[in-house]
């Protein structure tokens, strides 16, 4: 049997690579991308692990010779769900490695399969957590009772907001070992507020920007694909959202939301619902281009139904600019939340609120300096990451 000489094309092409893996390969070559990604992951980790770092519930509690782990009873369902989401996000490359050979043999996208698998696991587990778990709801008075325990292992910053704990005794302290970033006006620990503010910022960043992008992609695809009156109507609706200043729109919408809706949800919802026009305009422009491409004509000629045409062919091909826009959108959404909290319009634990507190008492510089530093680092990391993704996707893309 004679050996077939390798063709030039084979050597150059190598195994077929998916779009996502090409972008990821590009991204890994950029040190700024890796550093900012590391920063974002670190911040997410700190936000999720906040109760272990600062709080009132001990990790280990030994009383009458019996050891218990109170923190695991006190964590809320949402916190468990977020932790799981984090673990699944970090382990995605591992799954990818397992899925890749099989998926590539079948000609499917390993990225899509891994993400779908993890999303499914997360969804099922979250439903199970919310349905089956019963978190401890009452206040444990652990800090007040710490003398009763034979041994207690509190978070790094043992701190409480609850009644019965004399916070005011600790007000306006300079940074020390006990309070690494000092304490604020009402005796609350600055690092603790930074950690819990990070939770708000991360939730806003991911959920609100996610809601906004999703709405924008769907409406933009409909608008761009169908054109005519669909486009006319949707564009007018988008204009309404574009031409009322976001802050004003958010203020008047917040007033309509009933008071039983938790503050964080209200803010996330409002920022998501008002922040879809950017993604909408990008997707609409992409779809105008895509719908007359040859592959779309071919698919239409084959009789592919419209829904499948949109979901499997048109939208995936127009997603690249959206991804970049969403990266910048995360920083934008966080910025809006900070501004709302800074102006005292929403009552969520937020860095913006800290900045406002610090502004009124500049002499306690550690308050506003800490808040300012974490705000800048977060925004910078997201923008740096978005820019790196943009350059990896297409250096000529201008957003």
């Amino acid at each position: 049997m004679s050996k077939v000489a390798p063709q030039v094309g084979d050597v150059l092409a190598g195994p077929p690579r998916s779009y996502a893996s090409i972008v990821w390969g590009q991204l890994r070559k950029r040190p700024t991308a890796m550093i900012s990604l590391g920063g974002v992951v670190m911040l997410a980790l700190l936000a999720i692990m906040a109760p272990f770092i600062a709080g009132e519930v001990p990790i280990l509690w030994v009383e009458h010779g019996q050891a218990s782990w109170p923190i695991f009873h006190y964590l809320t369902d949402a916190e468990y769900s977020a932790m799981l989401a984090f673990v699944l996000a970090v382990t995605l490359p591992l799954t990818l490695r397992f899925v890749r050979p099989r998926a590539e043999a079948m000609g499917a996208s390993p990225w899509f399969r891994s993400v779908a698998l993890h999303a499914a696991v997360w969804f099922v587990a979250t439903v199970a957590i919310f349905a089956l778990r019963q978190p401890e709801g009452r206040y444990g008075f652990f800090l007040e009772r710490r003398q009763e325990a034979e041994s207690a292992w509190f978070p790094l910053i043992a701190w409480s907001h609850n009644p019965g704990y004399d916070e005011l005794a600790f007000r306006d302290q300079v940074p020390s070992w006990q309070h690494p970033l000092g304490t604020a006006r009402l005796g609350d620990d600055v690092l603790l507020r930074i950690l819990y503010g990070a939770r708000t910022a991360m939730t806003i960043g991911f959920v609100a920007a996610g809601i906004g992008s999703t709405i924008g992609v769907i409406l933009g695809a409909l608008s761009g694909y169908f054109g005519k009156w669909v486009d006319l109507v949707l564009m007018r609706i988008a204009e309404i959202f574009m031409f009322i200043p976001t802050l004003v729109l958010i203020i008047i919408i917040l007033a309509v939301i009933p008071s039983w809706v938790p503050a964080l949800w209200a803010v996330v919802g409002v920022i998501g619902v008002t922040g879809w026009t950017g993604a909408y305009r990008l997707m609409r422009a992409e779809l105008f281009r895509i719908r007359s491409e040859d592959y779309m004509t071919a698919a239409r000629a084959l009789g592919v139904p419209t829904r499948r045409l949109l979901v499997r062919h048109a939208i995936p091909n127009g997603l690249a600019p959206i991804l970049v826009g969403a990266g910048f959108g995360i920083a934008g959404a966080i910025g809006i939340e900070l501004t709302l909290a800074f102006l005292g319009l929403v009552q969520t634990p937020s860095w913006g609120e800290m900045l406002n507190d610090g502004r009124q008492h500049l002499e306690y510089w550690w308050v506003w300096a800490s808040a300012g530093a974490i705000i800048f680092v977060t925004m910078f990391a997201y923008n740096l990451l978005a820019e790196a993704i943009r350059d990896s996707i297409d250096p000529r893309l201008k957003i």
Partner: protein
């Protein structure tokens, strides 16, 4: 061109109607009674009967009447709320909702009707001894503040962004490019609230740093006595910090855009031709490439101007400047419907106007673009 302009101007109408209708609807849907709250804030607790008379009078004046036609019809047919069965209660709820929307549309129609006669209603928040202020007057007397700040900022943005973008593009890949893009992204990442707090803290009077700049207002108390030169210097001194806050974000954006567009032009064929003809590099860059890349920069600036006005909401709040932004946010927080509606209308009109001006400029600067 004239037909195109006319069409664009006419198309503004549905958008403006949409913007104002949505604003009106959302504010009317909010629970609570801003008018009674306003009366209480000015007179303290008063006799309920007087309160009702006063609030009814103001409601009548503002066109805020609640309608209860359908609800009353349901009550008449099936008896009072307490004796109604579950099915009737659902019907009654639906009737209340329909009444609400009917009231909103009628109220909006009334607002339009008043507007057509040049009547913007009256403010419930801003009152003098002689009565409520006219929203239009409130806005007109605040336009100069916002306009001054934004014009100064735009000038700074433009004349700093061009050299920065130029330098970055010319030295692409060198440290000038890297450094400037890093610094610009850093500026882009600073929220205005952070910049304002830090600037006020370090440079504002009464802060913890150097007391260099005033912290509120746009003029010294006795500015009316100043001559022109001193007046202008005073204005610049007062507006320095707010202008910095309004400038750096747009500057970062525009400089990045300038770099990208200059790079694109430097790669273009006509630049290669110019170089091949032996033109000096200076002339190639400044005369050929820069001129062409100014085009998108100018249009982008016009397009970002409305965003800048939106940004002045925060800046005016931080620096307590009595401009349109502060009025807007104050009206939104107090449900001062007339002022809010007037602001929304005027703001929306300005935004749409700038969009049209941007398109016209684009066609004027680039003869290849024609609007029919």
């Amino acid at each position: 061109m004239r037909a195109y302009l006319l069409k664009r101007l006419l198309l503004m109408i549905p958008t403006l109607v949409g913007i104002t209708l949505v604003t009106y609807g959302i504010v009317r849907l909010a629970p609570g009674d801003p008018i009674e709250a306003m009366i209480r804030s000015q007179t303290g607790d008063i006799n309920p009967k007087v309160m009702k008379e006063n609030s009814d009078r103001i409601r009548q004046r503002l066109g805020l009447i609640e309608y209860h036609y359908l609800r009353d019809a349901v009550d008449r047919a099936w008896g009072a709320e307490e004796v109604q069965g579950r099915g009737t209660r659902v019907l009654r709820g639906a009737a209340v909702a329909v009444d609400k929307f009917y009231g909103i549309f009628l109220g909006y129609g009334r607002w339009i009707g008043h507007l057509a006669r040049g009547d913007f209603g009256e403010s419930i928040k801003y009152r003098t001894s002689s009565g409520s202020r006219n929203p239009l007057h409130l806005i007109v007397e605040r336009i100069p503040v916002t306009a001054t700040l934004n014009v100064i900022s735009e000038i700074f943005i433009f004349f700093i962004a061009i050299p920065v973008g130029l330098a970055a593009a010319q030295y692409k890949g060198k440290w000038v490019d890297w450094g400037s893009s890093f610094v610009l992204l850093g500026l882009w990442s600073i929220p205005v609230i952070l910049a304002g707090t830090v600037l006020l803290g370090f440079l504002g009077k009464g802060g913890m740093g150097w007391s260099l700049f005033p912290v509120a207002g746009l003029h010294a108390p006795d500015y009316e006595k100043y001559g022109f030169g001193r007046y202008f210097a005073d204005l610049l001194w007062h507006s320095a910090l707010p202008v910095v806050c309004l400038t750096y974000g747009g500057l970062a954006y525009l400089a990045k855009l300038g770099r990208a567009s200059l790079l694109e032009n430097l790669r273009a064929d006509y630049v290669r031709t110019a170089r091949a003809k032996g033109l000096p590099e200076r002339r190639v860059v400044y005369h050929h490439a820069l001129r062409n890349s100014l085009l998108p920069m100018i249009t982008t600036m016009v397009l970002t101007l409305p965003g800048l006005i939106g940004g002045s909401i925060v800046v005016e709040t931080i620096f307590s400047l009595p401009g349109m932004g502060l009025l807007y946010i104050g009206a939104a927080r107090a449900y001062d419907l007339s002022v809010l509606m007037a602001e929304t209308l005027i703001y929306g009109f300005l935004v749409l106007l700038f969009l049209i001006i941007g398109d016209i400029l684009y066609a004027w600067a680039d003869p290849r673009i024609r609007y029919e």
